[in-house]
């Protein structure tokens, strides 16, 4: 009997629609819009964390957070607007305009000693007007907002240039923050970075951090189990409570040991204790609270699952093998072919490709002529050969260009992280595929994945530049391994829930959210008390993201924003003030642009006339990576906020990893594309699965 039958049989107490399958917490996460951004940012962050010398330290974290804050604020604003179905191309330039406005107004119009606060208030008013004009024009004319705001963009850009040249005789406005401007302390306090929050680190910082993260993880796991498993009604086995407590204790012990000891042997031992403890705790808890049944199906792996398992295992193995001969202190290019040879090689490749294309064209002509439009089977062979030759030529060129550009270290990092992570992901996918037919079959890919992750952890640990984070990285990887192992065992003998139940779903969601909140709080605490400066706009960014997320999901205005972006006529038909919502969104974008502009001006003291130009696309990219549909009606501000982190993480991480920083834009382009593709792919997959 297959699992699906087994699972479906007991749940027929109420009539159900066979077309809609129950979605577990993981599936629900996968179809959420922000998944691409979260996965992308996490992977990029993990890459630099593993390779960069100080990347995980508080100072580096705060430095990329500082760079990300203005982007984050604006990406959130642009995301809201995009969900509402519109674009604002003037969102970048308004950041510069408002800064210039504050500078010129305070210095020229009010003479020396003019009050800064008045300039700032007027800047906000002016920004609101610009936003209102954008929105009004879009509503009134029915033109695409792309065009309307492009016009605003050019006008503002021109105004910036004209005013700064005429009034300041330069294309830059300076001394905005000088002694020449009087101000009310409150404005400086809120908007500039003169005040830096700097708390000394305290003694128990690390312990509190680990405590919070551990508690968060426990709650998260409990929440996820509550959402995906079925409560048991009979008496649980006697070993279950004991196992839970003992397992938890062992986990704590393992983490403590890993952090107080050093050396491979001790760490490995500590890791093993922690890993096994976590697994025992989870499995016992699941057996204690949730229904069990015997394993079903056979052990045999077939088809896609088998293929994925083999490829996945090979990837992890390859990642390890390839990095063996490459030394950590090797600073050379991967391949240094002399220029002359390169010329010859590229010439040869170009000849092959050009010749191949010509031949392909000729063959096609010939074929059509001979068969009168029908393809002839016998001629397929030369055709395939020609296509292969072209593909090989192009591929060879790519490889050569890549090898010529990449350093040994870059290549090493890409192979080690990329191939390793890919292999593990493939193994997990194989496990999922095998689970569909039999709970026994998923055991093999599951166990291989556990071994691969543990092996990978050991390799990375011995390998990493980031000496201070060895224990941390090691622990994280071991925890992932533990999660996979626990999941494998639970899936072997536990009944998965297939029906919606309001209460456990809500309890589970609550627990999981609380867990994430606690872990995030621990992380924030660790950063906050690191003795480093925290720039104020990071706080603004967090607050704005939280407020926007709340408005979007829990207020009627959020509902209206989704509706005017998704189907404006429908929204209007049921009484949503669609035009006002759109104007409000444009005004909101301009106001937040003004906020960022004023903060930038006060922080750096000068604004060039070209400030902010081109940034609007980066804000839009942040929103799109964060899962907002360009056509409106769908998206997430948390995704946009996370999406805006990817570029700053990359730009800060590359120098710390000692890679050639000239590659940063290539890297960025690839990462952004990948994040959007992941978004699209996963959403499609998850939509199909339901």
């Amino acid at each position: 009997m297959s699992t699906t039958e087994a699972a479906a049989a007991p749940a027929d107490s109420e009539p159900r629609d066979e077309r809609i399958a129950f979605r577990g917490p993981m599936q629900r996460l996968l179809i959420s819009p922000e998944i691409g951004a979260i996965v992308g940012a996490t992977l990029v962050w993990a890459l630099f964390w593993a390779t960069g010398q100080q990347f995980g330290e508080a100072s580096a974290t705060l430095s990329w957070l500082d760079a990300a804050a203005p982007f984050g604020i604006m990406s959130v604003a642009v995301a809201l607007l995009m969900i509402g179905g519109e674009f604002d191309l003037s969102s970048g330039v308004i950041v510069g305009s408002t800064g210039i406005f504050v500078g010129i107004f305070a210095q020229r119009f009010m003479g020396n000693g003019g009050p800064l606060w008045m300039a700032i208030v007027l800047a906000f008013l002016a920004a609101a007007c610009i936003g209102w004009i954008n929105g009004w024009l879009v509503n009134r004319t029915g033109l695409p907002s792309f065009i309307v705001t492009l016009a605003t963009f050019f006008v503002l850009r021109g105004v910036n240039l004209v005013f700064s040249k005429r009034l300041m005789n330069k294309v830059i406005v300076e001394n905005i923050n000088g002694e020449t401007i009087k101000d009310i302390a409150g404005f400086q306090w809120w908007l500039s970075d003169k005040w830096n929050y700097k708390a000394a680190s305290f003694g128990w910082r690390n312990q509190v951090f680990f405590g919070l993260v551990l508690a968060g993880a426990v709650l998260l796991v409990a929440g996820l189990l509550e959402q995906s498993l079925k409560r048991r009604t009979d008496r649980p086995p006697a070993w279950a409570p004991v196992g839970t407590v003992v397992g938890l204790a062992a986990t704590v012990l393992g983490i403590v040991l890993a952090h107080t000891t050093d050396g491979v042997g001790a760490n490995l031992l500590a890791g093993l204790v922690g890993l096994l403890g976590a697994v025992v705790a989870t499995v016992s808890w699941a057996a204690w609270r949730y229904e069990t049944h015997g394993p079903t199906g056979t052990f045999s792996l077939t088809g896609r699952a088998l293929l994925l398992t083999i490829v996945g295992a090979a990837c992890v193995l390859l990642a390890w093998l390839v990095t063996r001969p490459l030394k950590l202190d090797d600073r050379r290019q991967l391949l240094s072919i002399p220029p002359h040879a390169i010329k010859v090689l590229i010439g040869a490749v170009a000849a092959v490709v050009a010749g191949g294309l010509a031949l392909r064209y000729a063959l096609g002509k010939l074929l059509r002529a001979r068969s009168g439009g029908q393809t002839v089977g016998a001629l397929a062979v030369p055709r395939v050969a020609v296509i292969t030759a072209i593909a090989a030529g192009l591929g060879l060129t790519t490889v050569i260009v890549f090898l010529q550009m990449a350093t040994v270290q870059g290549f090493r990092a890409i192979v080690l992280i990329g191939l390793g992570v890919l292999g593990i992901v493939l193994l997990l996918v194989a496990k999922g595929a095998a689970r569909k037919t039999s709970t026994r079959a998923q055991l093999l890919p599951g166990l291989i994945a556990v071994v691969a992750i543990v092996g990978y952890a050991v390799v990375l640990r011995a390998d990493s530049h980031a000496v201070r984070f060895r224990a941390g990285l090691f622990t994280v990887l071991l925890l992932i391994a533990a999660a996979v192992l626990a999941n494998t065992i639970i899936e072997l003998h536990q009944v998965k829930r297939v029906a919606f139940e309001t209460r456990p779903d809500r309890v589970g969601r609550g627990l999981a959210s609380l867990g994430v909140f606690l872990a995030g709080g621990g992380l924030a605490l660790r950063l906050l008390f690191s003795g480093q400066n925290i720039y104020r706009w990071i706080v603004w960014w967090l607050v704005i993201t939280a407020v926007a997320a709340f408005v979007l999901s829990r207020t009627k205005w959020g509902n209206w924003i989704f509706a005017v972006g998704g189907n404006k006529e429908a929204a209007r038909a049921v009484g949503v003030p669609a035009d006002q919502v759109k104007v409000g969104l444009f005004v909101m974008v301009s106001l937040l642009g003004c906020l960022v502009g004023v903060m930038t001006a006060l922080r750096f003291g000068s604004v060039t006339a070209a400030a902010g130009v081109g940034k609007e696309f980066e804000y839009i990219i942040g929103a799109v990576v964060g899962g907002c549909l360009m056509t409106g009606g769908y998206g997430s501000v948390i995704g946009a906020s996370v999406g805006a982190m990817i570029a700053p993480i990359t730009l800060n991480g590359i120098p710390l990893s000692k890679w050639n920083s000239d590659n940063r834009f290539i890297f960025l382009g690839v990462v952004l594309l990948a994040a959007v593709l992941v978004n699209q792919k996963i959403r499609k997959k998850a939509q199909e699965a339901r």
Partner: protein
């Protein structure tokens, strides 16, 4: 005792074009009045007058026996007349419950009480006999019939007394049409007066209590179910010359 909604000699002229001329019918609470007509018969104008988008040029429009003059669809809605248009007023990417309460979000101030909204939307749909397993799924993933039924349930929930359905079955397959017809009946059984606009007598006859036939803006007759058979209805709908072609088509089925 007067009917819930009554029309007497309603006419509508656009300049020198006569869109409707002398239309009379009535809708009782708990019954279904079907308005049948081919393309260009004046069905759209008829709906627009009922839902307050157009004012009639002549005749009387009464609710509970009292003549009414609607200045806008908002007035009609306030009087309890809800219209479910063919191109449903829904945002396809939003979840069922978000669509259900769109424009009338429950909660104080700006707060949207989502838990209550989810539970209520599910319960209200269940009352209509609609089982939406996952209230969180986007409306765009529902089938056409299910989408119609969400719109009907929404209109019923928000206190509609008269429900106007504009060709709800025209874009649907056979089974889906059956589902929607079932909900039309369910709405009538909950005490609403339903006006069901269609061009398909085979959809109208099983659910209707009263049939108003329109042709080129004029009434071909207003019948109670006891006064007319389905064949008669079909014949009137098609009209003499076109009948043969239609019968040919029907026989092929």
């Amino acid at each position: 005792m007067s009917a819930l909604l009554e029309l007497e000699n309603i006419s509508k002229y656009f300049g020198n074009v006569t869109a409707l001329e002398g239309i009379s019918t009535q809708v009782e609470a708990g019954s279904v009045t079907c308005v049948l007509g081919d393309n260009g018969a004046g069905k759209s104008t008829f709906i627009k007058i009922l839902s307050g988008l157009h004012a009639p040029s002549g005749g009387e429009y009464r609710i509970d026996g009292v003549p009414v003059h609607f200045a806008s669809p908002r007035d009609a809605r306030a009087a309890g007349i809800a219209t479910v248009y063919q191109d449903l007023a829904m945002a396809p990417l939003m979840s069922v419950w978000r669509n259900f309460f769109l424009g009338s979000e429950p909660g104080r101030g700006g707060w949207f009480d989502t838990n209550w909204a989810k539970a209520t939307a599910k319960a209200e749909m269940a009352k209509m006999g609609i089982d939406v397993r996952d209230i969180d799924q986007p409306v765009g993933t529902l089938s056409g019939g299910e989408r119609q039924s969400v719109a009907i349930a929404r209109a019923v929930y928000f206190g509609a007394r008269v429900l106007i359905l504009d060709e709800p079955t025209s874009a649907l397959g056979v089974r889906q049409s059956g589902v929607v017809l079932k909900y039309i009946r369910a709405a009538a059984e909950r005490g609403l007066g339903v006006i069901f606009i269609t061009h398909n007598p085979h959809h109208a006859y099983p659910v209707g209590d009263r049939f108003l036939l329109l042709k080129r803006g004029r009434s071909l007759g207003d019948y109670a179910k006891s006064e007319i058979s389905i064949d008669e209805l079909t014949r009137l709908m098609a009209g003499g010359a076109e009948l043969e072609a239609l019968q040919h088509e029907l026989q092929r089925r």
